[in-house]
């Protein structure tokens, strides 16, 4: 029973309520980094990793804040945790793999202002998930984000070869693709 519900959380976060295409979270990197398949998948992996860590920290912080009865500190402490996690990941990646660090470039620090990560922390608190459920939820959200990013990157790589009117080039075209993808993802609603 418990296993099934964890599976449901994962499917719900990654497909049915896809963070990018249904909740519009993390649109900035979605529009910015989705030009190339390679950067898109690396970005997805980095975001998923930060999501997992910050989700664990957010769970702990929530317990502490409930204990000391200071819910108004929630937002501030979450954002501080996320910012420091990103800093940590940045230092770690720089030390372990300078090549990957250069490839991700400016987008690594920008993960701090990726709304999807703060949203995972906030939603899991609102839904009252336990530790394991939070972890699965963060994993699902990250998988969904990566999936959407890779899908768009693939489409955009193909479209780069096509002749299109200058008025719809760039952001406009990406938004139209995203809209069609979002329609397609609505089909997953039946899975719940």
């Amino acid at each position: 029973m418990a296993e099934e519900s964890l599976w449901q959380i994962f499917i719900g976060a990654s497909l049915i309520n896809n963070f990018v295409l249904a909740y519009f979270l993390g649109i900035c990197p979605f529009l910015g980094v989705s030009g190339k398949m390679e950067t898109a998948s690396k970005m997805g992996a980095a975001v998923t990793f930060v999501m997992l860590i910050s989700s664990m920290c957010a769970y702990g912080i929530h317990q502490v804040l409930v204990a000391v009865n200071a819910p108004f500190l929630q937002l501030i402490s979450y954002i501080v945790v996320i910012a420091s996690t990103v800093q940590l990941v940045e230092m770690f990646v720089k030390k372990m793999s300078p090549a990957l660090f250069r490839a991700l470039g400016i987008f690594l620090p920008l993960i701090t202002t990726n709304c999807a990560i703060l949203a995972v922390a906030l939603f899991q608190t609102n839904k009252g998930y336990g530790f394991l459920e939070s972890l699965v939820y963060a994993l699902g959200a990250g998988a969904g984000f990566t999936l959407a990013l890779i899908l768009i990157a693939g489409l955009r790589e193909q479209l780069a070869l096509v002749k299109i009117p200058s008025t719809v080039k760039g952001t406009t075209l990406t938004l139209i693709i995203a809209g069609i993808l979002s329609l397609a993802f609505m089909g997953f609603a039946g899975l719940g």
């Binding site: 900035c28 954002i79 406009t172 809209g179």
Partner: protein, 220 residues
């Protein structure tokens, strides 16, 4: 009789050319945060399924933007360069928490329909980018004008999206039914996909308009 009229003319001309007017106006049109800079997309798409939600979200964001711009500009000499981004985020988070509680006090139903997106104002790239790009380098006065212009531009853009989506998606505007009973609403417009399509449509129209303008300039 001539002189005062002349003076008035000069006054308007000076006003139009002064840098402070430019600080204010650039956010409304030339550097519109949504349509030109494509910043702060998450709330733009997520909460604009009705015009009322869009207006509330826009005003909340504009308030946070104004307050954080003021504080960042006032404290810019005291914040060490290395930790400036973290300090800006802390300042922004403080004001977002205030806004969150204020909206909850004003209207519980509004708070419910905006949901977590009020808290997510913290990570609205628009606010952080104004703090970093403008308020940290300019005086408090200019930062206020900049925040007012950008905030107003953001509200206008949200209303543009929310208006279209509500009008087509449920046939009403601010909750007033505008179409007759037998109007078949376009459900897709209030769904997530409608947000993407509406924003794409606005960007498309602006692109056409700019291309036309470019052409007339080239021909003239």
């Amino acid at each position: 009789m001539d002189k005062p009229a002349n003076n008035e003319n000069n006054f308007w001309q000076n006003l139009a050319n002064s840098p402070s007017t430019n600080d204010f106006l650039k956010g409304l049109w030339k550097d519109n945060p949504v349509f030109v800079q494509v910043l702060g997309m998450c709330p733009v798409l997520a909460v604009t399924n009705t015009a009322a939600n869009a207006l509330a979200m826009g005003l909340a964001t504009a308030f946070v933007l104004l307050m954080s711009n003021v504080l960042v500009a006032a404290l810019k000499d005291f914040i060490p360069k290395q930790v400036r981004i973290a300090s800006y985020i802390l300042i922004i988070a403080t004001f977002v928490t205030i806004t969150d509680y204020a909206i909850q006090a004003i209207s519980v139903s509004l708070h419910k329909s905006l949901g977590a997106f009020i808290s997510l104002i913290v990570v609205n790239c628009l606010i952080l980018s104004r703090a970093e790009a403008f308020a940290s380098k300019n005086t408090v006065g200019r930062s206020i004008l900049d925040a007012l212009g950008m905030g107003l531009g953001f509200v206008v853009a949200l209303l543009c999206l929310g208006g279209v989506r509500e009008l087509l998606g449920s046939g009403s505007l601010f909750g007033w039914m505008l179409f007759p009973e037998n109007f078949q609403s376009w459900i897709v417009m209030i769904l997530p996909a409608g947000g993407f399509f509406t924003l794409a449509l606005w960007l498309f129209l602006i692109n056409i308009w700019q291309e036309r303008k470019q052409k007339t300039i080239n021909h003239g």
